[in-house]
């Protein structure tokens, strides 16, 4: 399809009193194809309506151009009919006269009968024949908007522009009108641009959703293609497997915008006290049993004990929020999946590499692989069973949920599958889903299994939806689960705070590791501010007990190991293994300068200082990593290790240039 409308480098400024200007929109580039339905979504005041009225020609851009069908837009015209939120019907005319005014004005060259016919057919199109001779005041809001849509469509515009058309209507009317509009657009191949703040409406109606960032200088923050097949039904579209991921993508974007705005509005000030450079910290976490050390440090006063008196824990629903929070500086530190510091430092997810350091391993173990219950019923009890099943039916697509490409879950699941002869990128597909939504997705059937931290494996088992086919103890006992991550420049700017933070959390880890506290921690974790779930799903126990008794497969629990002295130390070997695995699946390049990168990511010195000051014994013996398939990784020659792996993606090696290290103060 050809490009019909082109928004090219458009900028809009408004003069402010006092000679200044307000830049509402900047660098807007958008191409709309014939027959496409585009939704513009963003917070109020982000300039989405301004963008629409620039397409309409009602206001003109102060920079750049809007081109429709090869012609630059300089004035409004009937080829770009607008449906306004408040209907904009002329109240002294009847419904028919309102449509007639438009038709008679624009189609003056047509014979009278033909105009008459256009008017009548559009009255029928929106089902308003019975109300044709009523003035708008006697119509309901929904009927008025139908008149406005009929008036617009009667002129056969090249683009239909809708400015929050259903915003003022009640939910029921809105739903009906959305379906009618969708049908009309579908039947007549109408190109439409709609401003909305309703996420569901955007997903339902659009081919693409254009998400605008907050003003000033609002721009396009992302474009989401909604590839749900048409014709769509309002009540059925929610069952499409991608529906909720589209929806949550938009909501995530809007929430992120809201938070950025708040962050921008807040005075960012650093409170220094007790010889620490910064004692007001925002620390991000994701609700999982593994967040226990952060929760304990806060609730039991370990932060305050070490001088960090103003710590607030910021709950994120997924790891992407942690990533963005650390990247944009709204979070000082965060609980991270063990692979995330390396992933971010290497520019995973095609982002700019940003050096992240870790000085503490918060948890080990605590993860499991869950499959939907029907696999158990078909006799799949081991990896070999699963391989046989998957390879026997290659036409069926099986999807596994992972929380983030950098998480140990993802790496362990892929390692596990590959060790069983299943290529995790060809034989199955992986999908990123926030931990707390795994169970619901498994139940809905949009995924066949997942690898995630507790309590989500146990919960699926308890609810009879799935079963744990393997816990991490069977893959790599003692693997790092979550680590503490901060930006390298943050660590360099606040070295004493960093040590205090590690001390507080290390003490919290020790507290969590004591079986006498498990009952208390379970109840604390279940609270609304943390996991917000039933205490029955949360279990803390012996992390070394080998689990997965297949005779009683629904009651496994992968326990976390919170404290192990030297085990809380950030291990270079482990992070190097993580690096090899992420490179193995093509997630990041394998850095030629891997020694430098590993050295920068693992801040062993900070950990050692903290542990020494707490009097914790951290003596250890260097040992290779032992994995369940009998291989071991000692970290001497990662290139050779990568070579030795048979199932893998194309590995590419590149120099990863990190911003130069700032001298430590």
């Amino acid at each position: 399809m050809s490009t019909l409308l082109r928004v090219n480098q458009v900028e809009k400024t408004f003069p402010l009193p006092g000679g200044k200007t307000y830049v509402a929109l900047k660098d807007i580039d958008l191409e709309i194809r014939t027959g496409e339905f585009i939704a513009l979504i963003g917070h109020s005041g982000c300039g989405k309506s301004t963008l629409l009225s620039m397409v309409a020609g009602l206001t003109l851009p102060t920079g750049g151009v809007v081109i429709l069908d090869g012609k630059t837009i300089t004035a409004p015209g009937p080829d770009r009919m607008v449906v306004f939120q408040n209907y904009s019907l002329l109240p002294w005319l009847t419904v028919r006269q309102n449509i007639a005014l438009a038709v008679d004005t624009v189609c003056k060259d047509y014979p009278k009968e033909q105009r008459q016919q256009i008017i009548e057919s559009h009255l029928d199109l929106v089902g308003l024949r019975a109300a044709a001779d009523k003035p708008p005041a006697q119509l309901s809001g929904g009927m008025k908007q139908r008149v406005a849509i009929a008036r617009a469509l009667a002129l056969r515009p090249q683009v239909l522009l809708l400015d929050e058309p259903f915003g003022a209507l009640d939910a029921l009317t809105r739903g009906n009108l959305q379906e009618q509009l969708m049908k009309i657009c579908q039947d007549h191949q109408i190109t439409a641009v709609m401003v909305t703040h309703d996420v569901d409406e955007a997903v339902l109606l659009s081919d693409r959703v254009v998400m605008l960032t907050n003003g000033p200088e609002a721009s396009i923050g992302g474009i989401l293609s909604i590839d749900i097949p048409r014709p769509r039904q309002r009540l059925e579209v929610v069952n499409h497997p991608s529906y909720y991921s589209f929806r949550s993508e938009i909501i995530y974007f809007l929430n992120q915008q809201k938070r950025l705005k708040k962050l921008r509005g807040r005075q960012v000030h650093v409170v220094a006290r007790h010889g620490l450079e910064k004692i007001n910290l925002e620390i991000g976490f994701v609700p999982l049993t593994a967040c226990a050390p952060l929760m304990v440090a806060k609730e039991k006063g370990f932060f305050a004990k070490h001088g960090l008196e103003e710590v607030s824990l910021v709950r994120e629903s997924n790891w992407r929020g942690i990533c963005d929070g650390i990247r944009n500086g709204s979070l000082d530190a965060a609980q991270m999946p063990a692979g995330m510091p390396m992933w971010m430092s290497l520019g995973g997810g095609e982002t700019q590499p940003i050096p992240i350091v870790t000085a503490l391993t918060l948890t080990r173990n605590g993860n499991g692989i869950t499959l939907a219950k029907r696999f158990y019923e078909q006799g799949i009890h081991t990896l070999a069973d699963l391989r046989r099943y998957l390879l026997d039916a290659p036409s069926e697509q099986h999807t596994f949920g992972v929380v983030h490409p950098s998480s140990m879950h993802s790496l362990l699941l892929q390692y596990w599958l590959a060790a069983g002869g299943i290529n995790p990128q060809q034989d199955v597909s992986l999908k990123g889903i926030p931990p707390a939504q795994m169970v619901a997705n498994l139940q809905a059937g949009s995924i066949d299994g997942y690898c995630v931290g507790e309590p989500w494996n146990f919960r699926a088992a308890m609810e009879g939806i799935g079963y744990t086919i393997a816990t991490d103890l069977e893959i790599w006992p003692g693997h790092p689960g979550k680590v503490l991550g901060v930006r390298e420049d943050w660590a360099n700017a606040y070295p004493n705070t960093h040590i205090a933070l590690v001390k507080a959390l290390l003490e919290a880890c020790r507290y969590c590791g004591d079986p006498d506290h498990h009952e208390e921690i379970r109840h604390l974790l279940a609270q609304r501010a943390y996991l917000s779930t039933s205490v029955d799903y949360i279990h803390l126990g012996d992390p070394n007990q080998l689990a997965c008794e297949l005779a009683m497969p629904m009651r496994e629990y992968a326990h976390h190991q919170f404290f192990a002295g030297a085990g809380n130390r950030p291990s270079r070997t482990e992070h190097l293994w993580i690096m090899t695995q992420m490179a193995r699946w093509g997630e990041v390049p394998f850095p030629r300068n891997w020694v430098e990168i590993v050295e920068r990511v693992c801040r062993v010195g900070v950990f050692s200082t903290a542990a020494r000051e707490l009097g914790i014994d951290i003596s250890y013996e260097r040992a290779p990593i032992q994995l369940f398939d009998g291989s071991s990784f000692h970290g001497q020659d990662p290139f050779a290790y990568l070579q030795s792996l048979t199932v893998k993606h194309d590995v590419y090696v590149a120099e990863v240039v990190l911003p130069s290290r700032v001298a430590m103060s």
């Binding site: 309409a56 009602l58 004035a75 409004p76 015209g77 009937p78 770009r80 009919m81 607008v82 306004f84 408040n86 904009s88 002329l90 109240p91 002294w92 005319l93 005014l101 438009a102 004005t105 624009v106 003035p135 005041a137």
Partner: protein, 276 residues
Amino acid sequence: MTTTLSSSSVTPPKSRIDWSQYRDQVLPPIIGVIGFLVIWQILASSGIIRLPGPLDVWNDERSRYLILNPFYYNSPLDQGLFRQTMASLQRVAIGYCSAGLVGIALGIAVGSSLWLNRALDPLFQFLRMVAPLAWVPIALAALQQNEPAALFVIFITSIWPVLINTAVGVRQIPEDYINVARVLKLSRIDFFFKVLLPSALPYIFTGLRIGIGLAWLAIIAAEIVMSGVPGIGFFIWDAYQQNYVTEIIVAVVYIGSVGLILDRLMALLQNKIARR
């Protein structure tokens, strides 16, 4: 007894419903008017105010003749009160209609042009504050004749509300209507007749309704001062000169009634034409 009660509660008598409707609508004004007349009569008979009471107005020979013979005609200055009123109304009609036409036209001009508005608004605001009576000597001095002077006073008094309301109405056309017109590319003439005028109509009618009241007030003032023209205003002045207070009272009743009728007529017209 029981049967009576139950039957009456099932089918209440019809006349009762009608009465209850009238009771709330009609009775209070009647009581009000009668009460006013009674108090007036008491005040007059007791001598607290030196004004004839309602009974005196009826009993007086001259005023009763006026009441009973509204259509008699002896000479231009000696005719029935209905004729006098019509003479005044004719003047009001001419003055008010020209004020309406000029006011609407000027109002649209001022409302559509910011420049014109800036130029003329201070002038209008100033002239608006001048009382009808103050215009009388100016009108007489300028026009030298009673009849045109009276028309001018009506014109100049009633034009302001029309003009200012029209201007406001034009200025307050909702942005949406203008956007619709812009998107449809309505011609200037179409815009004027199909959007601007209908949109401003309620404002214009508000102005016209205030204007008619002012015009009627002004004619009395104008006629009182301008001797020798037939009309209800001069009639009052003449009666006062001859100390026929009862006649004045009858004339006042006419003036009030006509004013009321004019206002109601305008309201009716407004409802008919400019209803949304």
